[in-house]
């Protein structure tokens, strides 16, 4: 028996059974993002209203995922820019202190911190960002998927 609804969800917060998302996730894993996805439900005799409700709940689930990835991408951008600016400021202070008489040790320390900050900024901008973009594309691929209910069985 196909359990479409999450047994614990209720009222306006009703959601689709997580096993269905697990299955879709497993299948979609091997489909590259270049291909748009169509979800074909065979043998369904659900009423039209119920079909529409399931379609909208599935889309809502993946749209929330896409939204989260979009927020993550924006957060990542802000962190990368913040770290780069902090690194630049620290470097300017370090160079400024280098000219002072007793600033050698502190200036060296600031330069090390600035280097580390730039390193982290590059890590966020290049590595973490690319990972988030991949997750965003996968979420978008599922959020834009078509869902079709076929009554005939094979």
């Amino acid at each position: 028996m196909t359990e479409w609804n999450d047994p614990m969800s209720y009222g306006d917060q009703r959601s689709v059974n997580s096993e269905i998302f697990d299955y879709l996730g497993r299948k979609a894993f091997s489909i590259p993002v270049e291909y748009p996805i169509r979800i074909n439900v065979k043998g369904s005799k659900l009423p039209e209203m119920e079909k529409d409700r399931i379609k909208s709940m599935v889309r809502e689930h993946y749209t929330l995922d896409l939204w989260e990835q979009k927020i993550n991408a924006r957060k990542n951008w802000h962190i990368a820019i913040g770290l780069a600016v902090l690194g630049a400021v620290l470097l300017v202070i370090a160079f400024g202190m280098d000219r002072a008489v007793y600033g050698d040790v502190l200036s060296e320390m600031l330069m090390i911190v600035a280097t580390f900050t730039f390193w982290e900024a590059a890590d966020y901008f290049l590595l973490v960002r690319s990972e988030i973009q991949i997750q965003r594309l996968y979420a978008g691929q599922m959020a834009t998927a078509d869902i079709i209910f076929e009554e005939e069985k094979e």
Binding site: Y35, I37, I39, K42, G43
Partner: protein, 50 residues
Amino acid sequence: MFLRSKYKVPYRIAEYERHIPDHEEYIKREFRVDSEGYATIDMVDYDGME
């Protein structure tokens, strides 16, 4: 020598890799990619199959 032995793909695996079917072909066959480029994921509603 260390680098070669550690990172070179062993012959047996490299030979097997040559015979793996093309990924694109697999996707097109397995997910019935149509003329519009849509890949189809099939699901069964057991309630309707009874």
